[in-house]
Amino acid sequence: MKLTKLAAAAVAASIAATPVLADLVFPSLDYRTGPYAANGIPFADGYADYFTLVNARDGGIGGVAAKVIACETGYNTEKGVECYESTKGEGALVYQPLSTGITYQLIPKATADGIPVHSMGYGRTSAANGKVFSNIFNYPANYWNGASHAVNHAIADSGGDISGKTIALVYHNSAYGKEPIRTLEELSKKHGFKLSLLAVDHPGQEQKSQWLQIRREKPDYVFMWGWGVMNQVAIQEAANIRYPMDKFVGIWWSGSENDVLPAGDGANGYKALAMHNVGSDFPVFDDIKKYVVDAGNAAGAGDQVGTVLYNRGMYAAMLAVEAAKTAQEIHGTADITPAMMRDGMEALVIDEAKMTALGMPNFGPTFSVSCENHGGPGLGAISQWDASAKKWSLISGFEPSDNEIINALIAEDSAAFAAENNIAEGCK
């Protein structure tokens, strides 16, 4: 009897002595209001729902619950910085700014604070050089990879030779929209195509001049770096002038259901780059339905599950969770810090076996991250819109970009940043 009491007391004492693990905090810089809410809502839903799933199905990450702290930015850079400042003290492990403007503001702040930033498919492209941008990650692909994917697709579509042809770039007249220009200029020299640049002023509701020019010049391909209403108007205008939609390719931020549905049948055949798979035909969605939506714990109304931007949010959350698991393995503790999270992100490996185990077979490209390369190999796919079925489909695998050109540009731009900011290149 005494022995039992002693044992019970010992167990109680050991439980009491075990430190209570704090939740692993993942801030979500949402924009559920404002002009871009239609795009912000599905991403935020997907991001939050995946963490809810991990908590409900797996008991958290390494046994520690994940906690999402939502902060509304309205896609406004100042508010985004406020969100960062107000949440970083909560033990934030990684920020997904969801805006190129906010990312640029957070690069010096987060680096100084030792918190990693994951700008997935946006932000500063040269942040792929981890020797300069120690805390910034932009895997699995960046804008320059995207420009190269689009050109590669045009080359393949032209039978392997695009020399003498014309590609028009319709772009948002902002730092974001101008990102692919340098890469496209280099690629035009290499492949011998003519590049025509057509800027569209924010917000892009009136694009008659640009599409009249396209109608006059009849470029062989039109690429688009658009956002928000600019996408819908461009796709409608392209349909109006009867531009062949299968020659019209948008960046992944111009390739959601929101962008094509307003144009109805006119958008049929439109293509967009993809850094992850589309649709809801993956086992993980059964789990999301069972553990999240049916349990009444969905972040939104549950009506966005399987849309392109929901999938992107979910994919970003999956990459964060896998990086956290990697960090836990590296440091031998479940209670990781932002610095450990950074190490986990830098050692992240996403392979097919891992994605299949997560119920996401072929959901994204396989890649690994290193100190030298925070952007991964830059694989990307092409998706195409079927207006009658109202769904996107991948029409290619995840294929490489022209890293010979892109790596040189990354090295040049990151070296300039390092010189401006007195950063000594190197690995931590």
Binding site: P35, I41, D201, S209, V229, N240, N258, G264, G266, G296
Partner: protein, 332 residues
Amino acid sequence: MSADFYYAIEVILNGLMAGVMYSLVALGFVLIFKASGIFNYAQGVMALFAALTLVGFQNGEIPFSHLINAVFGTDIHHFGWHMPAFFAILCSLAVMILFAFLVEKYILKHLVNQEPIILFMATIGLAYFMEGFGDLMWGADIKKLDVGIPQGGNIWLEENTAFLGGDDFYGFYIDNLDIWATIFAAILVISLVIFSQYTKTGRALRAVADDHQAALSVGISLRSIWVIVWAIAGFVALVAGIMWGSKSGVQFSLSLIALKALPVLMLGGFTSIPGAIIGGLIIGVGEKLFEFLIGAPFLGGATENWFAYMLALLFLVFRPQGLFGEKIIERV
């Protein structure tokens, strides 16, 4: 004539059409400013709200369904019917008239005799309230708007003008939607002119516009006039919302169309209905032609917004009241 000459004409034609679209937005501003001296910051949001309401009626969406579902755990979204466009427009118009009553009752009535800047600030508040209210009522997703207006290039015009400029000319391109917008704008302006010139209420509107105090002294109810003018501005917002929403889908960026109306107002004057039309046409043609001749070939493009505001600024310098605005002379 070379193909470039005909393309320049095409640009002018499309500029005129774009100008009509800008004028549709500017008209709402003019109506309210003329009758009450208020620069209605909420005019763009009114167009958005009207279009959201129209799509909501058409698709049989249950207003506030997201809120109801969140509070009561229900799963309701639609009534299950699809309303014909004509009836949906009438219902939306009724909502905009109700909106005018509510604005007068809860905002304007309490701000009589306040400084114009106070009234302007009130409309800023109204704009943000309506944006959130519209989001709550109909959801933030992008909605397709289809009231049966044809879209796409007018093929008849293209085919019958293609011979003009040789092999490099593909015929004049004009969007059918823009043609219909021009027809609606013409009907709207003629109706407004007839209403203001030949009806008792219209004359009362003009009297209030000329002199509030004098109008009040002869028994014209300022409050009724405000309700009427906000209801008419609501109707104009509905027409603008239909036209712009058909191009881009109905989404919250629709409220930003107000930005396209500002240079039109600066150029045409804040108090003139014909000024809104002429101003819109000048801005539309000017910005498109500048982009075609100078902006795209020499300046990297995207000069339209810049040119529109530059042109408006020039007018402000040399004719502050705009082309058709009333010159206000304050005597000390």
